[in-house]
Each structure stands twice: as C-alpha cells, then as structure tokens.
C-alpha cells in the first residue's frame, strides 16, 4: 500500500492503495464516483473510460500509480444535474439510453474524440466508437445525440 495523489475533476485526492491497483477501483471505490464503471476489466468495452491528457483512457487496465498527479476527468467532471455538458444534454434530449450503464463509455469516448474532431462525418464517428459496446443497442439515438452535440459545440 502506498499513498497516491490523484487529481480528479479538478480536485486533489489522496488514496492509500497497492500501486498496481487499476485506476478504476480508486475512482469508483475510494472516491465513490459513479461515472466510470467496471464492465469487463479487460479494456474491451469502454465502461471504465476517463479522459487523461485529452485521451479516452480505459481506467480498468491503467495502474493508479501511472496517473498520479495527472488531471483525470470523469463523466461527473463534464457537467452536473443542474448544468449538464452539451454532450450530456444531447443524450438527455435524444433520450439516448436504455439501461444507461454504457453512457460513461459512449459520452467520454465521444468527448475526447469531438475535442479533436469537432465536425466528424458519420464514418469518422463510427470509427471512433468502434471499441465501445452498448448491449441495449441504443446505437441510433447515441449517434444522433453525438452529432447533435457536435453541432451545438462547434457553433
């Protein structure tokens, strides 16, 4: 166990963990965050995605020690219930979820992608989301929501 300093959504935290512990457990267990989730633990589905240095990172396979002191953004860090981020608002407006478990994967992956590609084609967006799963298959609405947010964000 060792004390590790994390910066999550702008707030400093200290966690006392085995340094090889995947970041996901620090976020969801130690810090009690509800955005990043355990889906597979293998980096295959995207449920655990967070944004670090502008990249969508799979926190279930990222040792916590490797991101000590680096700014980490989770789904909670994008917006709030009162003031959702435009991407989050687009998902609400398009009713783009069923069970909602994968929303963290989809929104965080889309966020990192749109930040670099503000006006994506459908094909580019598809490519960006090729490693993300939604087992309710809310695909149609999710693409609509992301394109809606892209328009909103690039206005």
């Amino acid at each position: 166990m060792s004390e590790i300093a994390l910066i999550v959504n702008g707030q400093p935290h200290k966690v006392d963990l085995d340094p090889t512990t995947p970041l996901l457990y620090a976020l969801s267990d130690d810090l009690g965050l509800r955005g990043p989730k355990f889906g597979c633990g293998l980096g295959q589905c995207g449920s655990c995605t967070v944004i670090i240095r502008g990249q969508a990172i799979r926190s279930c396979i990222t040792p916590v020690q490797s991101v000590a002191g680096v700014e980490i953004t989770t789904l909670e860090g994008l917006g709030t219930l009162e003031k959702p981020h435009p991407l989050q608002q687009a998902f609400i407006d398009e009713q783009a979820a069923q069970c909602g478990f994968c929303l963290n994967a989809v929104i965080m992956t889309a966020k990192a992608f749109l930040d670099k590609n503000p006006k994506p084609t459908d094909a580019q967006l598809q490519q960006a989301l090729s490693g993300v799963l939604c087992r309710c298959f809310t695909h149609v609405r999710m693409f609509r929501a992301i394109q809606r947010a892209a328009k909103e964000l690039s206005r």
Binding site: L17, K37, L81, C99, G131, R135
Partner: protein
C-alpha cells in the same frame, strides 16, 4: 397540452427531489419515509393470494396485499404521491411509464409522483419483471392502474362532504378536487388524505381515465432517470456502498461439473487486506478490504478441482439434442391428420433450422451487496424478482424469509435472467461468513462462463401445398435444451452459486410420449402464425391452416439455461418465418401477399400491412432476379403475434450481402409494433429500435462456444457483439396505436423478428437460404459455395 417535461434543466424541483429520492439516495429516502409506510406490512390474506392468482409464485407472506389501495399508493400531507410497484426498471422505461400511469389516473402532475419499485419492505409481490408482462399487468384494469383509479374515486368521495356537493358534481385534477361548476371551491389531496391510509380495497368498477382524456399517459414523457444517467450521478447496484462494506471475489470451477478436492488457504496467507477464505461445499470465495485485493486473492488462491463432467463436441451437439433421452414432450396443437394431409399434398417442403446457445452478456458484469448479520439479511440486487430472491436466498442462508429484505437496485441491462441472482447469492454467502456487508462484482469471465444461457434449438418444419399453392398442412417439431432456470422462491440450485453451495437444480421431468393438447397456449410461440390453432374444437390461432401439428421436445442442457429476451419465441419465430418465406418462394408468391393469404388475425394483418407500407414493399417473389456477384441486395419480411396474443409486430429488413466475403450489411429496418394503447411512444420507439438491433447482433454473430471441458466464449473478444462502431442501419418504428384494446407486452416484439427478417433478406439477395444462426461470413461463404457446386453438378 404539451408533454410534461420531467428531465433536463427544465425539470422542476419537485421532480428533481423525487428523482433524488428514487435514484440517487434511495436508502436515505427509505429512512426518512419510514413513518409514512410503517403500516404497510400487513400479512397476506386469502384474498391477497387470490388477487395474485396469476403469479405462480405469489404466496409470499409479508407482501403488501395486492387488493388494497394502500399497498400501491400513498399521499403525503404536501400532496406528493408515492407509488409502490413490483415491476422494476431494467432500462426498458417502465418506471417512467408507471409514474405517467399513476399521475394520469390519480389526476396529479407527473412531477409529484415518485415510484418505488421492488423493495420487499414496501412493494407488492408482482413476481418477476419479465416476459413482457409489466405493461399488461399494471396498465390494464388491475393492480397499479386500478389502485390509482380507486384512489381517485375515493378522494372525490372524501371531498364531497367537505365541499358540500355530491361526488358527481366534482372534478379531480392537478392533485385536488374541484367543484365543477365553481372551481374556486376545491380541496387538495394532501388536505383530504395526507399521511393517512386509504384502508380501501381495489374497486374493479372504479372508472379508468378514458384514452380521449389522457394528457400524461400516451405522451413521449422523457425518462425520469436520464439526467442522472447522462451525468454520472445515477446509483447502480454497482455503486451501492454501506458502512463497513468489504469486497468479495469468487473462484469458479475451471470446467463444467468440476468439484472441489482441496483448498489451500496457505496459498493466500498474508495477502494484504485479506479477511477470509470462504468454502461451502464447492462454493469458494474470498473477502478482503478492497476490491482489487479480493480479486488478487481469488486469482492466487490454490484450489484443486476434479476433472469435471466433460462436454459434447460443439460441432455435433445439435444432432445429440435430437437423439437425447429422456425428453419432455408436449403437443401444442395436433389436428390428427397431418400425415394424411401431407400425403395428399401436391408439394411437400421441409427444412431444419438451428439456433445456438446465446448469452445475456450484460455490459456491467453482475454485482450485488449483501449484509447478513445479527440474524437479518439485506440484499441490494438487480434481480428481476425481489420476492423470489428473498425466498431462495433465505433457503441458501438457512434463514427465515421474513428476516431477508431484498432491495432492487438497478444493474446493467439484463435482457432476462443474467447473473443478478447468482451474484446476489455470492454476496450473501460471503457476507454471512464474515458477518459484515460484502460487495461482489463478477469478473467478465465468471459472468460469461456460468450465466444461464438462452436455449439452443433444433427445429424441423414441414408443410404441404395444394395444386394452387395454398398451404394445407404445417408441422413444427423442435428440440431445446434446459438446465437450471430462474430460482423462483425455493430453488437456489437453479443457478451456479446455489449448485456449488450444495443445492440441486430443479429435477428434469421426462414425459414421453406427449399427451394430447388440453388448451390453446402459444406462450412460447411454438405454433406458427399461419395455422388455425384448434384445440377441442376451439380455434385460437392467428391463421387459416387446419391441418397442424406442433410437437416440442425438451432435453437436458450441458450448460445453465434461463430466459433470454424473447426466450423460445425468437428461436421458433426464426424457423416459422424463414420457413414461410421458403414456402412463398416455392409457390413463386410475394412473401407479404402470401403471408396475408394465410393470416386471419386482424392485428397481425395490421402490422404486416403497416410495415410493408412504411418500407414501400414492392410485390414480387423472392429471390430477387439479379446477378449473384459482388454486393447484392435484398429485403425480408417477418411477423409475430408475440406469445400468441401479447403484442403484434412485423419487420422488414433491407440488407446487402457481399457474395465474395459473405459479409452482411443491414441497411434499413422497418418495424411495426402494436401493443394496445401506447403508454409512452418514445419509450416504445427506444425499445423497438434497441430490440431490432440487438436481434441483428444475435443473428449475425452471437454464439456460446466451448471445448471438451469448458465454455470458451468468456469475454468480448470470444463472444461477439456488434459494437457502436458498426454501420448502423436506418431504423424506422411504425407505432400502431390501439386505444380500445388491452395493453400488451412491447419490449420483446422487435427482437423476435430480426433473425428471420434478416435470413429472408439474405435469401432474397443471394438465392441461398441460411438456416443456422449466427449468419457469419464463413457460414455464408460455405453456403454460397455449396449452392454454386450444386447448380453446376
């Protein structure tokens, strides 16, 4: 009036508060609302059990009686309404729809309604939330709908003496009762009953709000949970934390049928955070302070296992199912003349269809938290049946059901009986062993290797045609494999954890030969839509073919099985609807016109016509006349009367097939759905879109695989699913509203049709019939090659 806005920044503070209570901090709500609900735990009476007669598992002591308004509705002094229901949110939108229902029938603003779903401390036992039963159960003239209607009637009657006019001169709206002629005179619900019980039985005669007056129900009300989901504030069962909570991990056998020979606890001695190694017969798990510590200890723990029972060769298992003995045989219909009619037919067609084991494959592996201490147990679980879990967990733990509380807490979409029950047992056993709350989330592998899969099916179909090309006889015979199931209230051995802990699954009941059918029941859609469905002289089918026989054989599965979205209905419909297409092609008839020629039920006919019209269906026989090289295109139709009478749907799929690679690209899906009066059109669209695509994923790539000893499809690289990155087709949902009919199921309509509609589209495009799921490129290429060599032979 426009639809009330329950989500987004416009959400009222009331709605926000209600939402906070229902989704974000449920436990604190239950704590603060205890006074309101304390009188609820009235023991069940004979009447209760009669009222619950339709729930096979209904005799649950402690359930609030279903025939009492107070079991369903309470109104606080501030006028806020709490509705209690046994039909919980699985992601299908039913909690929002039930809030709409209560708001509508009770005449209160939607924002004032909070729905508490499936907590055994509060909610009536409504069996499982499954089988497309929530909409028909709670939205017709019974249970939640009738409780709300009875409550409104009672409030009007209570208001009459206060307002000094008879009830018929009063109007209920916006949470108050008004003198119709002088609305300045009114009294609020809070003033009338706030904080008190109704002490009133459900009145079957209490009038329901007529469809023409709906302002909340029937509208595309946004999901109440959406803002919290999108912003990462929603509490899934995975997020539940209770004081002093420890973390568990389980060690599952390395092979099917393997049992524990020895557990070497010294192999994990001194591991950081380790609290305990727990062994109960073949159940092995560890408890630690932190989740990662528990996972590491479970990985390191040295357990010796027996070799296991072995598995049949995957490439031969369909043949083995067909030959397997003993079997449980049943006849759904049997006109007694099928062989004679087939012998007299001008043409006889036959075909065999194969459907593999498939998995629920929830996005989040299953998770539960249990606190078994001081003689009581509380389980936070994403189970579909909280009262059932209460009973079966009590047996597992050796406790009285009265001492077990199950708090439904939402999980990742389950699509049926996924790992929610088994992980609840895992958490309960580990918690019992350490006397502290324990959270368990399964590994991806443990989820996928041991869940109760959707059944594999072998289906033989035969049909006879007369000289004019009309179908005069249809026979369907199937073999499906089962082992275990939902645990119900008393069979913990029906899932892996229960078996490992020493409980037996439900014994297999053999029955050969099948007795004659006693009554018409098409619950599993074993009976095709085109036959008359006659039993003892009464014909209840949806088609015209009089010579009919449907025989099913159930055999023992090597794997755990249980309901997977549209169980048996999807598999049978795959065979029926592809076979119908084969017959139409043989008769050189247009597949839509040919279906209509043999259908008699106006609602099936209605959805077929609606889907064909929306798809701009051009009448012609299949396959399409075109060159079979490069990328070819085609279209397919499929339809179903779900469970015989629990929803009606038809689908058209347009697809392209690359003849060289065997790759299928679905371009367009049109699906017409009729579930009676539509409670929430946007929710219905969402379910239909998702169902259609999930069905396409299952048809194109989903299949459980195994070797001689174990399941080998144990993660997302070995069990394939369409990712978000696939070229998503255009999906159009045609809503066929039937305001004067009964509410039926809706969530399993579209998915039932995808495989057959796609199979028919592939045939239309390529001229080759693929009769086995999944439609993988390799399978298609092999079929194209076989068809080509047959053509040149």
């Amino acid at each position: 009036m426009t639809a009330p806005r329950a989500g987004g920044p416009q959400m009222s503070q009331d709605a926000r508060d209600a939402f906070e209570r229902s989704g974000l901090s449920r436990r604190s709500f239950l704590k603060t609302s205890g006074a309101l609900t304390v009188g609820f735990c009235v023991w069940g009476t004979e009447e209760t059990h009669t009222a619950f007669g339709q729930f096979a598992t209904g005799l649950t002591p402690g359930s609030p009686p279903a025939n009492q308004v107070d079991s369903w509705i309470s109104i606080a002094a501030d006028g806020s309404v709490t509705a209690y229901t046994g039909k919980q949110e699985l992601g299908q939108g039913i909690v929002t729809a039930q809030a709409q229902l209560v708001a509508e029938e009770l005449c209160v603003p939607l924002a004032r309604v909070t729905v508490i779903a499936a907590d055994t401390a509060f909610s009536p036992d409504q069996g499982y939330t499954s089988g497309s039963q929530s909409h028909p159960t709670n939205f017709n003239h019974a249970y939640l709908a009738q409780a709300a209607a009875t409550a409104r009637q009672a409030l009007v009657r209570l208001a009459a003496p206060k307002l000094g006019v008879p009830p018929e001169q009063l109007t209920a709206r916006e949470g108050a009762v008004f003198v119709t002629a002088s609305p300045a005179k009114h009294v609020s619900y809070g003033e009338l009953i706030g904080g008190q019980k109704f002490t009133l039985a459900l009145d079957p005669a209490a009038p329901r709000k007529p469809y023409s007056e709906w302002t909340i129900l029937g509208k595309p009300v946004p999901r109440l949970d959406m803002p919290a989901l999108a912003t990462g504030r929603f509490e899934f069962v995975h997020n539940v934390k209770v004081p002093g909570m420890l973390h568990g991990a389980v060690v599952r056998p390395p092979a099917v049928g393997a049992t524990v020979s020895a557990v070497d606890e010294s192999s994990v001695a001194g591991m950081p955070g380790l609290v305990k190694v727990v062994v109960k017969k073949d159940f092995v798990g560890v408890v630690a302070q932190k989740p990662w510590q528990a996972i590491q200890a479970a990985n390191k723990l040295k357990v010796s296992w027996t070799a296991g029972s072995g598995l049949p060769k995957q490439n031969d298992h369909y043949n083995l199912m067909r030959k397997q003995s003993p079997s449980r045989d049943a006849l759904s219909v049997d006109s007694g003349d099928i062989e004679h009619t087939l012998a007299s037919a001008a043409t006889v067609l036959k075909a065999t269809y194969l459907h593999p084991f498939q998995m629920h494959g929830s996005m989040g592996s299953s998770c539960a938290v249990a606190d078994v201490s001081n003689g009581k147990a509380t389980i936070w679980s994403a189970t579909q049946g909280n009262w059932m879990l209460r009973g079966s967990a009590a047996i597992l733990l050796g406790m009285n059901p009265e001492d077990v509380r199950v708090i439904f807490t939402r999980g990742a979409g389950c699509y049926g009986h996924n790992g929610a029950d088994t992980v609840s047992y895992d958490a309960a056993l580990l918690s019992q062993a350490v006397g502290k709350p324990v959270r368990v989330q399964l590994s991806r592998k443990d989820e996928m290797a041991w869940e109760n899969y959707g059944n594999a099916f072998v289906m033989d179909d035969r049909a006879g045609l007369d000289a004019q090309g009309n179908i005069i006889a249809w026979e369907h015979e199937s073999w499906s494999a089962v082992y275990g199931n939902r645990p119900g209230a008393n069979r913990p051995g029906n899932v892996i954890t229960g078996l490992l802990a020493g409980f037996e699954p439900e014994p297999f009941r053999a029955q050969t030969p099948a007795p004659p059918p006693r009554s018409y029941n098409n619950n599993g859609n074993a009976i095709p839509s085109y036959v008359a469905g006659c039993v003892d002289g009464t014909c209840s089918g949806t088609g015209s073919i009089k010579s009919e026989r449907v025989l099913t054989h159930t055999v023992v599965s090597p794997f755990w099985t249980g309901p997977l979205r549209s169980p048996a209905r999807l598999q049978n419909t795959f065979a029926h609807e592809c076979f119908m297409d084969e017959i139409a092609a043989s008769a050189k008839a247009d597949p839509v016109a040919y279906r209509l020629r043999h259908l008699t039920n106006p609602r099936v006919i209605g959805v077929v016509q609606a889907a064909a019209k929306a798809a701009n269906w051009q009448a012609r026989p299949s396959p399409k006349a075109q060159s079979r090289t490069g990328v070819v295109s085609g279209r397919g139709m499929s339809c179903v009367a779900y469970e015989g009478d629990n929803g009606y749907s038809a689908m058209v799929i347009e697809a392209e097939v690359d003849m060289n690679s065997g790759i299928v690209a679905v371009k367009r899906v049109v699906v017409a759905v009729d579930c009676g009066p539509i409670s929430n059109p946007d929710g219905l669209r969402n379910q239909s879109e998702g169902g259609a695509l999930q069905g396409i994923s299952r048809a194109l790539m989903e299949e459980v695989t195994w070797d001689d000893h174990k399941v080998t499809s144990v993660d997302w690289s070995s069990y394939h699913t369409l990712p978000l990155g696939f070229a998503v087709p255009q999906v159009e949902v045609v809503l066929v509203n039937q305001p004067t009919e009964r509410a039926t199921g809706a969530g399993e309509l579209a998915i039932t049709l995808s495989a057959s509609a796609l199979g028919n589209a592939i045939f239309d495009a390529t001229g080759v019939r693929i009769r086995e799921i999944p439609f993988t490129p390799a399978r298609l290429k092999a079929a194209f090659a076989a068809a080509a060599s047959k053509a040149t032979a």
